[in-house]
């Protein structure tokens, strides 16, 4: 059975949505993600562009303002709940790992 779109988020998806919890211009997202992850996760411009388009058409984000080439977006209720779902999923993974390995603080 095909996996539902955005049921699980890739790292670039996760961090872009995370950045858009507050209104943010598309151009600034690449820098924000890099800063947030200390350079571990990098979002390329093509990936950013196409993900923003996909999030928009899925109703996960909405455009807030357009100033020349600068477009700003913010997470919608749907986007927010998907981000929360992903967070819960990740937390479950972590908790399962901790339960089986007994490692709590080190993770």
């Amino acid at each position: 059975m095909p996996r539902e779109k955005f049921h699980t988020l890739t790292e670039p998806m996760f961090y872009i949505l995370l950045c858009l919890r507050k209104e943010c211009c598309g151009m600034d997202i690449m820098g924000q993600v890099e800063k947030l992850t200390s350079g571990r996760v990098k979002v390329g411009p093509g990936t950013l562009y196409n993900l923003l388009e996909q999030f928009l058409s899925a109703g996960m984000i909405e455009e807030t303002k357009v100033e020349g080439r600068r477009r700003s977006y913010i997470l919608t209720h749907k986007g927010n709940s998907m981000l929360e779902d992903e967070f819960k999923r990740l937390k479950t993974l972590v908790s399962d790992y901790q339960m089986l390995t007994g490692e709590e603080e080190s993770v």
Binding site: T10, E11, P12, M13, G26, M27, M30, G31, K42, V43, G44, P45, G46, T47, L48, Y49, N50, L51, E53, Q54, R69, R71
Partner: protein
């Protein structure tokens, strides 16, 4: 020293990796891509350099969009921030370059890249290939209709055989393209699910150049198969006209793109220009073809018998009435109606009309086809075409096989029968010949043998 180079590059629209590698190689050789137009890639000379190229896709843009659109501007801006400069675009494909080895890759999520490619291909690659398949299918149906009207006449013309060859080849190549795309998509999905990248496109460029060479080869053979210089000129003119139309239609679209004309208006104007130019080309070809036929009209004498006027032609025909019976007609018209030869068979339609000066005297005439089947496997099919030629008429007669005495010349003989009565219409099979004959008198078997011998010598 040449500073600009134009090349026709054969890439599948989804082969981003192939394009990237190719452009890196070209830059290393000192050629930087500056533009893509009409499928022609333009390179400018520069100092050989190590330049990175990266390709991405904007599924929502079209080849008919203005050169600058909000979507392209936005993508260009994002890429610029990441250190990439726009080089050119080809439909939804956007090409960027960077001299910074540290610049972040344009695509950092393979599943997103694949999704963008899939959406882009649905809009361009799939639509154009499916349309092409439909065009080939329609052409195939047209050819089948022509074949069914008269299979022998159809197969005796190399132009028809070449048309079939090109249609079959076109369908095969288009299907390979479509199937290869489906294979590539599925393989890429699997690789990405395993944590890898989109699949590489392999062997397409040699396949594309090979296909192009085959089409050119077929066209060259076709051109050399013409026996008349006028026909060669007409064909070359039509081909040049076709290329001119393609150029003008594309140029129209590109000029409108550059002037920032809206996508819908660009599509409408391009479509109208295409239709108008196609009508002009077809009209010019039809006019030139008709003129050629009229200019080529055979000379004839006029013979008047009573109040009737007859045209007397003196074509060389394989068999005359005089070859079969002991007569000497002063006024007879010998006409070659058709004479075609292909690699499969040779087909001629001939007739002799004999006219007496005295209206009450009747001279013998005849009408016949001679088919020389070069490809053995076609013999029965051609014969069947003749035997069934009147099947569509309910009240017409049918051909019956006639017993013949041991003939060294005739293998099989059929005669037309109308309601139990035989008419003077035969189909004679002899070796690789099929002869359909209608005569004003009932030929004896000896006359038929003479006919076959005369026809086989001259065909």
């Amino acid at each position: 020293m040449r500073m600009i180079k134009h090349r026709r590059e054969e890439f599948l629209l989804f082969d981003y990796a192939g394009v990237e590698k190719h452009l890196v190689k070209m830059a290393a050789k000192g050629w930087r891509l500056v533009d893509i137009e009409f499928g022609t890639w333009t390179y400018e000379r520069m100092e050989p350099a190590k330049i990175r190229y990266s390709v991405t896709y904007i599924p929502t843009v079209s080849a008919f969009d203005p050169a600058k659109t909000a979507e392209k501007d936005r993508m260009d801006e994002y890429c610029k921030i990441a250190g990439w400069e726009k080089v050119a675009d080809w439909n939804q494909m956007q090409i960027y370059c960077s001299e910074d080895p540290e610049a972040v890759d344009i695509e950092t999520d393979e599943s997103v890249r694949l999704e963008a490619i899939r959406k882009s291909m649905r809009k361009t690659f799939l639509v154009s290939n499916i349309l092409l398949l439909c065009v080939f299918a329609i052409q195939g149906c047209n050819q089948r209709l022509s074949y069914r009207v008269n299979p022998v006449s159809y197969l005796s013309q190399n132009s028809n055989l070449i048309a079939i060859g090109l249609i079959v080849f076109g369908i095969t190549v288009t299907l390979i393209n479509l199937l290869y795309y489906l294979y590539w998509i599925n393989k890429s999905k699997r690789l990405i699910a395993e944590g890898g990248r989109c699949a590489e496109v392999r062997f397409y460029r040699p396949f594309a150049y090979g296909s192009l060479a085959i089409v050119l080869g077929i066209l060259v053979i076709y051109i050399f198969s013409f026996t008349s210089g006028d026909t060669t000129l007409l064909f070359l003119g039509a081909l040049a006209g076709l290329f001119l139309i393609i150029y003008l239609v594309r140029k129209t679209s590109v000029i409108m793109r550059r002037k920032g004309v809206d996508q819908l208006l660009n599509k409408i104007v391009t479509f109208i220009v295409d239709i108008v130019l196609a009508i002009v080309l077809v009209s010019v070809i039809a006019w030139a073809g008709t003129k050629m036929v009229l200019d080529d009209e055979k000379e004839y004498e006029i013979f008047i018998s009573g109040d009737q006027e007859w045209h007397i032609y003196q074509d060389e025909i394989p068999v005359k009435v005089e070859d079969l019976i002991d007569v000497d007609y002063e006024h007879a018209s010998y006409v070659t109606r058709t004479e075609n030869e292909s690699i499969l068979l040779k087909f001629g339609q001939y007739m002799q009309q004999s006219y007496a000066t005295d209206e009450n005297t009747y001279y013998m005439s005849m009408d016949y086809d001679v088919v020389e089947v070069k490809a053995d496997f076609l013999y029965d099919m051609c014969l069947e075409g003749y035997l069934k030629r009147y099947d569509k008429y309910d009240d017409w007669g049918r051909y019956d096989e006639i017993d013949i005495y041991e003939s060294a010349v005739i293998d099989r003989l059929y005669q037309m029968q109308y309601d139990g009565e035989y008419g003077n219409e035969w189909i004679i099979c002899s070796d690789d010949l099929i002869i359909w004959l209608y005569a004003d008198w009932e030929l004896t078997e000896e006359e038929m043998e003479d006919f076959v011998l005369a026809a086989s010598k001259k065909v």
